[in-house]
């Protein structure tokens, strides 16, 4: 569904991504693992149209060439992004945030159905639909952010560090919800520091290091990979 080939990205003279190739199939959940500064977020930003990749990059989504398209058109193609931090508007209510999520042309006609879907996934939000988002907890805000992204009826949902700064018990809730999102048939691309959690709901994963893909395996394979264990899971192998 999403096919990235030879994606390089420079920030000025600094090389953030070095000829990366990544593929995500329909309904697949893929995790990007890597240390800080490995290029995970840059990869998501390039795919989302927030930064312009170097010439020669080939990014295709459902057959369409989306390399270098501006963000709002990438969204129209079917890729939604939950950016790092809280991808919400704090001065608006839950309901207004969700309404904004359905702003895209592809989503307009389905606003009501999408809202029911989101409230089904996050029943907490339904009770608080009129609450201002900046009065909610970090975990709840992240759910609003995911709900907002789902409102655009994406085929692929990309999440940048969704568990960042959340309490462990909330992280558990979050991943349970992401598991439900996954079951609804969406493809997911997750960049996450919480390797254990993210691998538990993933099909496959990539290892990123200094802007290059250095490994690729099934989730189970990565979970048992010595290098991954050493680097991310705190094992002393």
């Amino acid at each position: 569904m999403l096919e990235i080939r030879d994606l390089s990205l420079h920030y000025g003279p600094h090389l953030a991504l070095d000829r990366i190739s990544v593929a995500i199939g329909k309904g697949e959940t893929v995790v990007m693992l890597g240390a800080n500064g490995a290029g995970k977020s840059s990869l998501l930003k390039a795919a989302a149209g927030l930064v312009r990749p170097d010439p020669g990059a080939d990014i295709r989504f459902a057959g369409a060439d989306i390399a270098g398209r501006p963000a709002h058109l990438v969204l129209e193609a079917g890729i939604a992004l939950v950016p790092e931090g809280r991808g919400v508007f704090g001065d608006l209510t839950v309901e207004e945030n969700l309404a904004l999520g359905a702003y895209a042309r592809r989503a307009r006609a389905h606003g009501k159905a999408s809202r029911e879907l989101v409230y089904g996934l996050f029943p907490k939000l339904a009770d608080r639909r009129r609450q201002f988002v900046n009065t909610m907890s970090g975990g709840e805000q992240q759910m609003v952010a995911i709900g907002r992204a789902l409102m655009s009826k994406p085929d692929l949902l990309m999440l940048d560090e969704p568990s960042l700064g959340l309490a462990p018990v909330v992280v558990g809730e979050l991943f349970a919800a992401l598991g439900r999102v996954r079951e609804s048939g969406l493809a997911l691309l997750i960049v996450e520091q919480n390797v254990k959690m993210s691998l538990s709901i993933a099909d496959r994963g990539y290892l990123l290091e200094a802007g290059r893909i250095v490994g690729e395996d099934t989730a189970a394979g990565l979970m048992n990979d010595d290098a991954v264990k050493r680097a991310f899971l705190g094992a002393t192998v």
Binding site: A48, G49, L50, P70, A71, H72, L75, E76, A80, L81, P83, G87, V88, F89, D91, L92, E96, A99, L100, G101, Y103, A104, R105, R106, A107, A145, R148, A149, S152
Partner: protein, 307 residues
């Protein structure tokens, strides 16, 4: 349409009718005063139309105001008056699109400085052109437009501006306007074409400002670049909108009326100290009411309600 909006529109219509009838009851001084006040209400509201949602502080107000006035100065004897207004609006639109496309990617203080420079640049260009090409500086405007005529035109423009601001808030774009000044990454990933929305707002705001200049031009009889491109117009517009609150429909109006009256009184009674007092008022507003009167009242009410 709900009963409430219907009543609101009705009240607005009545107020407009009452204001339009004013010249029949009040003297010429009142009309003069109302021309200035209505002009600034429109300027501040149009300024807020762009700068409220985008949070871009523009000092280009007088660039467009001057373009409007100067267009009338140049064309008033060659074209019929309505056509002159149309041409002025089109020139304002063209300049706004060119400027907008090239500068709306600038952020924060760079945009402020650029817009200030733009107004100065246009003034210098016009001056240069007049001195070197046409060999004059300053133009006479002899148009058979009465003060009442000017007042009614401004009133109509004010009504149109408010109707536009209010109407756009009720469309799909209204929601987008609430957030484009907030988080651009998230906004663009809601499917909002931020660049186009900003450009459209800038253009509409600029056209309205241009028209204010064009409509008011016949009041002066004689204009020259230093009069119609006077940067004080930009500063006054800015501070009026800020006093009321630029991100609300009625904010700029609430700021424009008292400040206009205050400045009128000051310039009549303290002509020599006027700029100093003006500066102090600017500082006081920015320090005491950084978000505007309406926001301050709202937060006061909210606090009172919570107690």
């Amino acid at each position: 349409m709900t009963a409430r909006t219907l009543i609101g529109l009705l009240v607005a219509g009545l107020v407009l009718a009452a204001l339009a009838a004013l010249p029949f009851f009040a003297g010429p001084y009142a009309v003069t005063l109302m021309i200035g006040m209505t002009g600034y209400v429109v300027l501040a509201t149009a300024w807020g139309l762009f700068s409220g949602p985008t949070r871009y502080v523009s000092l280009a107000t007088v660039a467009f105001f001057g373009i409007g006035a100067y267009t009338v100065g140049v064309l008033s004897e060659t074209l019929p008056y309505p056509l002159v207004l149309l041409v002025a609006a089109l020139i304002g639109l063209a300049v706004a699109l060119v400027v907008g496309l090239s500068t709306l990617r600038l952020a924060g203080v760079y945009f402020v400085i650029f817009t200030f420079g733009l107004a100065e640049l246009i003034r210098q260009l016009v001056t240069w052109y007049e001195v070197n090409v046409t060999g004059t500086l300053g133009r006479y405007i002899f148009l058979p437009v009465t003060p009442e005529g000017i007042y009614w035109q401004l009133l109509a423009l004010a009504a149109a501006t408010f109707l536009f601001s209010w109407g756009i808030g009720r469309t799909r774009w209204g929601l987008a306007l609430k957030v484009i000044g907030d988080d651009e990454v998230v906004a663009s990933h809601c499917g909002i074409d931020i660049t186009r929305l900003k450009l459209a707002l800038f253009a509409v705001s600029a056209v309205i400002i241009t028209l204010v200049g064009a409509i008011q031009a016949p009041r002066w009889t004689y204009i020259e670049p230093s009069i119609v491109f006077n940067p004080t117009i930009s500063f006054l517009t800015l501070i009026m909108a800020l006093l009321g609150g630029a991100d609300r429909l009625w904010g700029p109006l609430l700021g424009a009326i008292p400040l206009f009256l205050l400045f009128e009184w000051l310039s009549a009674n303290f002509p020599n100290h006027y700029p100093i007092i003006l500066g102090l008022v600017f500082i006081a507003i920015v320090f005491l009411l950084p978000k505007g009167v309406l926001a301050a009242v709202e937060s006061r009410l909210r606090k009172g309600g919570a107690r």
